[in-house]
């Protein structure tokens, strides 16, 4: 089992040495990912595998031992991450042929950290991998790009803050429960609730803060938009699909069981305050993420906020604390991994060909890049949660669970977010792919095969999971079963909730949709034949725009797409800005900094300060 960790580590070192040879490095990257996937596949079912490394390092009076274990939920996360990572790896080979930097070695380190997180048996190992991921992704984002620094700095600061808060939480947990093993500590933490509620709450909140930062949940939702806008696109595909889930895994394996097992009074017969705390933060991220996504002009920023909203859905599922919601959330994790990777791969393809990520400067690319368009279309259909593709099942389960628990505000915000999702997703589709093709992109071609094949694979995956959710749900139910949750083993194509008569068969949905297509196509064929006319031949009240020196792409209505709607929210967003709050903290530190430097530069002040210091020191010594 250790080899799945060793392989990426060794690959990272080897590719560091051969960094100049791009083809070799990316090939190694692909091989290594393939091996990891194969190895993970063979690990399925062997849930009692463990690996323990004893050290002499002493903490809290006991020798520290670091451990890895093949736990079913970790496997579930790791496996599906590995599948998508492999596809992205294939894409990267084509994508990176002309790029300047080379993220492969550092990316491999991140994959090492990734697997380490999912396989960690104890919190120290978990923390080590967690922090490793933090700084490695800083380097992967910046990748020598000076413009990327601001966003990456913001991410790094938040990431380190999260790491620090987690360190405190882990050490408090270790001090109070006398164990670092994740599973054991969860049980002991529940017992701690009755003994020391304050400590319990502190530990939980600190953990939650760390996880929320990594998964960009509400108060910390700003970093994806800053980071995704500047990072290398293929790595961003990985980051937005796989990496943002790291906060969700420990939530699922630790926070949810702990909160679920507490005996807390219920509010409104629905849930206890901790459920609501998580739920409302989830709802806020879903709603705020959705609203902000609508008003972006950069497509990568738009999908960054979309990721925030999706993390919100997952949290909402957790907040329901019911098995259906839990299952739905974990299902949504995989769905989001797949669909976000697909969307970002197609965006990467667009950027690869056009070098542009501002949506209003693009348009009409569908005529030049049909496969990319189709991938993107599949991606947004899935992201909007429309049935024949994969986003629907998990959203459906989460909504069912919330309705069943009568968490009405949460479920309404979920519906708000997923309807709003439709708005921003469609806006991206229109602005990037539809409408008039700008003159400067007349020569754009479809991406090469190395890049289009991964996209086709992603489309296949989305459709497969959408129609046969069993490919994800079967391992998930087995994983949950192994963790001690009682779940019904689902069939390959049905999803069920505990409501009355609430079993949907996605196979039938697919058939019905297919028949709908057939009927509609018949109607279409029934009509008189049609004629294709040039794209710019539009009804313009008789005016001929070309005559006035107006390019066709000026016809694209894509800048401030939802302006009237945005104006409704402007007062709110102008007054309240979490981003401003966090940035101002950093700004204030930078503002004080020169003052302090001045202190160390001048001489006369120094002596004065020194004497004052001594005086205070002496006085303090006597008085304290």
């Amino acid at each position: 089992m250790v080899e799945i960790l060793l392989v990426p580590l060794i690959t990272a070192f080897i590719s560091d040495i051969f960094i100049k040879n791009k083809r070799l490095v990316w090939f190694l990257f692909l091989i290594s990912n393939g091996y990891i996937l194969y190895k993970l596949y063979s690990l399925y079912g062997k849930w009692d595998l463990t690996y323990i490394l004893n050290t002499d390092y002493q903490i809290f009076g006991a020798k520290l031992s670091l451990g890895l274990s093949n736990n079913p939920l970790g496997w579930y996360f790791a496996f599906f991450s590995a599948v998508v990572t492999l596809v992205i790896a294939i894409f990267s080979i084509g994508f990176n042929t002309n790029s300047k930097g080379n993220v492969a070695p550092i990316w491999m380190l991140i994959i090492f950290a990734n697997l380490g997180i999912f396989y960690a048996a104890d919190w120290i190992t978990f923390f080590m991998m967690w922090e490793l991921m933090g700084w490695t992704s800083f380097f992967a984002i910046t990748n020598g790009n000076t413009k990327a620094l601001d966003g990456a700095k913001y991410y790094l600061a938040l990431s380190l803050l999260g790491g620090s808060s987690m360190l405190i939480a882990i050490l408090l947990l270790g001090a109070y429960t006398k164990t670092f093993i994740i599973i054991t500590s969860a049980y002991r933490l529940i017992q701690l609730f009755n003994l020391a509620e304050g400590v319990f709450t502190t530990i939980l909140l600190l953990f939650i803060m760390a996880f929320f930062i990594k998964s960009a949940i509400f108060p910390f939702y700003m970093w994806p938009s800053k980071v995704y806008a500047v990072g290398p696109e293929d790595y961003i595909a990985f980051m937005s699909s796989v990496m943002i889930k790291y906060g969700i895994y420990p939530m699922a394996i630790f926070i949810v069981p702990v909160i679920g097992n507490l005996q807390l009074p219920k509010i409104f017969n629905a849930g206890n305050w901790m459920q609501y705390f998580i739920g409302y933060l989830g709802a806020l991220s879903a709603v705020v993420g959705t609203l902000l996504a609508m008003f972006q002009t950069d497509m990568k920023k738009l999908f960054a906020y979309s990721s925030v909203a999706n993390m919100g859905y997952i949290l909402l599922g957790f907040a329901s604390m019911s098995i259906v919601g839990f299952e739905g959330s974990l299902f949504h994790v995989v769905n989001h991994i797949v669909l976000k990777a697909a969307i970002f791969l197609s965006l990467a393809a667009v950027v690869y060909r056009t070098g542009e990520s501002e949506m209003h400067k693009l348009g009409g690319l569908v005529y030049k890049m049909p496969i990319t368009f189709l991938t993107f279309l599949f991606g947004i259909i899935a992201a909007a949660g429309i049935p024949p593709l994969n986003g629907f099942g998990s959203k459906w389960m989460i909504i069912q669970a919330l309705m069943e628990k009568k968490m009405v505000v949460l479920v309404i915000s979920m519906v708000f977010a997923s309807t709003g999702a439709f708005m921003y997703l469609f806006r991206a589709l229109v602005s990037i792919f539809l409408g008039q093709l700008p003159e400067r992109y007349k020569d754009v071609k479809e991406v090469p095969y190395t890049m289009s094949i991964p996209m086709i694979i992603m489309m296949g995956l989305m459709l497969l999971i959408g129609v046969v959710p069993g490919v994800v749900m079967k391992p998930l139910t087995i994983a949950l079963d192994a963790l001690g949750y009682k779940v019904d083993i689902a069939t390959w194509t049905t999803l069920s909730s505990s409501f009355k008569n609430a079993t949907i068969d996605l196979k039938i949905v697919f058939y019905m949709f297919a028949m709908g297509i057939v009927v509609a196509a018949l109607m279409y064929l029934f009509g008189n034949k049609s004629e294709t006319i040039p794209q710019h031949d539009n009804y313009t009240a008789g005016e001929n725009p070309i005559e006035w020196g107006v390019d066709a792409d000026k016809f694209n209505y894509s800048y401030s797409f939802y302006q009237p709607f945005k104006e409704m929210f402007d007062p709110l967003f102008e007054r309240i800005s979490i981003d401003r709050f966090f940035s101002s903290i950093g700004k204030n530190f930078e503002y004080i900094s020169p003052t302090i430097q001045g202190l160390y530069k001048r001489g006369e002040g120094a002596v004065l300060l020194f004497s004052i210091g001594v005086l205070l020191f002496i006085l303090g010594g006597w008085i304290l």
Binding site: T142, T146, L161, S164
Partner: protein, 487 residues
């Protein structure tokens, strides 16, 4: 093992001789330093530790004595290794003043570590001050002279306090020997103990770079040549750390009970520690001069060290040792990298060093590894220190917990500015071809590898640290009995 005195005597003789030797000085410096280093290694290997050497046959507590215990030999090694490593960065010709001061510094720092007598300790501290004053001013420009003067004023004020404290000790306890003081300290009333401690500590904090006694640091680092930076970091700071451990934890601790329970001095120290940390990290945040950044950061690291030893917990103390070791190696790497890069870029501003990481990746990677170690990132030496200190501070009272939070926040700031620098190294830029000395390129990589090894495999150093802590824990048996065997 009476020959241990050579560690101090030979450099002093060399200092005298250097006035006449001119160009041979460089060679002599190497010979003497390597002698010191190998002698320390021989002592370590001989297996006779701990032992006590009475100078001139006058037995303690009446005479001056040199003590070699586990802690001593450890710090002796650190200081002498630092001396050797620092010498390797000197390429150009140095005048005799430099070498004279260097030999005195070597003698003084070795003496500080070896001595078993508080007055002797004071003398060696003064000697260090004097040597550093000279070394910082070596460049003889306005900045260097100013920095040197600033340092001298602060240190001499501090030594006044120190002298007063020694006087008080002699007045109250009638002895100057460490071991003797340690065994008699319980006779002292609380007020006198507090006064003595305050006076003594305030003098030591200058060397330890703790706010507000660290006003000299940044200017001194900025004004001096790279080798002197390394002396300041590797020899003076290490000796200061040794002094703090010896005096706070072994001499002035009642019945081997740790500091925090014995007096409220500990609370002040914790307070000062975290003020130091936050102030120096914020100061470094927008600093563009790489050397100044490193100076600020070394203040912060020593702040964390002080925080660790003031907590009064052996595991936190262990963490403090890890911090010292991590900082020791990491700063070496960083100063050498900074030196090399500033030579190539022709400026100390790190923004002018764009692209150097792509041209000389080894150095930049070593720098990054050191930075990560200082940030306390896992898989690097600093992590184990941070883990211990934070973990045990959380078990303490409120002030320690506030301290933890502040230290963690400042480690975030540290991360931001260090990784920004690393990022700048790796970004695109125009570089002229410059030849670097090979040893300066290889050395940082080796040291970074050491950091990595400690970080991945803490067993390698854990036992050594525990031996030292054991000594502190059992001061009466392990230290006092060695020196005053009759009792």
């Amino acid at each position: 093992m009476n020959s241990i005195v050579f560690l101090v005597v030979i450099p002093i003789i060399a200092a005298f001789l250097s006035l006449f030797l001119g160009k041979v000085n460089k060679l002599i410096a190497y010979i003497v330093t390597i002698f010191n280093l190998s002698f320390s290694i021989v002592v370590l290997v001989s297996g006779k530790i701990p032992f006590n050497v009475a100078i001139g046959g006058w037995r303690a507590p009446y005479g001056i004595n040199f003590v070699v215990s586990d802690i001593t030999i450890f710090f002796l090694l650190l200081i002498n290794v630092a001396a050797v490593l620092s010498l390797t960065t000197i390429k150009e010709h140095m005048e005799y003043q430099f070498y004279a001061f260097y030999f005195i510094l070597l003698a003084a720092t070795n003496g500080m570590v070896l001595t078993g007598d508080i007055f002797n300790f004071y003398l060696f501290t003064e000697l260090t001050t004097f040597a550093i004053g000279g070394l910082v001013a070596y460049k003889r420009d306005r900045l260097a002279t100013g920095a040197s003067l600033k340092y001298l004023i602060l240190s001499s004020t501090a030594s006044t306090f120190s002298l007063a404290a020694i006087g008080l000790i002699y007045k109250t306890l009638g002895t100057l020997n460490f071991a003797d003081i340690a065994s008699k300290i319980s006779n002292l009333n609380k007020a006198s103990l507090s006064l003595i401690l305050i006076l003594f500590i305030s003098s030591m904090l200058v060397e330890l770079k703790i706010f507000p006694f660290n006003i000299w640091v940044v200017k001194a680092y900025d004004a001096s040549i790279p080798a002197v930076n390394l002396f300041l970091h590797g020899m003076v700071s290490t000796a200061g750390v040794y002094g703090a451990i010896r005096i706070l934890l072994m001499v002035f601790s009642k019945n081997s009970i740790m500091l925090s329970q014995s007096s409220n001095i500990a609370n002040i120290l914790i307070l000062l520690a975290f003020i130091t940390v936050i102030i120096s990290e914020i100061g470094a945040l927008t600093e563009k001069n790489l050397i100044k950044v490193l100076a600020f950061s070394s203040m912060a690291q020593l702040g964390i060290f002080l925080f660790g030893i003031s907590l009064g917990n052996y595991e936190a103390l262990k963490g403090a040792f890890y911090i010292v070791i991590s900082n020791y190696f990491a700063k070496f790497v960083m100063f050498i990298v900074a030196k090399n890069y500033s030579v190539i870029a022709g400026s100390r501003n790190y923004e002018d060093m764009k692209g150097l990481g792509r041209k000389y990746p080894g150095l930049a990677i070593a720098f990054t590894i050191s930075a990560l170690s200082l940030m306390g990132m896992p898989f690097f030496a600093g992590f184990w220190g941070k883990l211990s200190i934070v973990g045990n501070a959380l078990l303490m009272d409120k002030i320690a917990i506030i301290g933890v939070i502040i230290i963690l926040i400042s480690s975030v700031i540290e991360g931001v500015y260090y990784l920004r620098i690393s990022h700048t190294f790796f970004s695109d830029g125009n570089i002229q071809d410059t030849k670097l000395s090979r040893i300066n390129c290889v050395l940082p990589i080796i040291l970074a590898a050491v950091i990595l090894i400690i970080g991945i495999y803490p067993n390698s150093i854990e036992n050594i640290i525990w031996t030292m802590i054991n000594e502190i824990q059992n001061t009466p048996e392990k230290y006092i009995q060695v020196i005053l065997p009759l009792k």
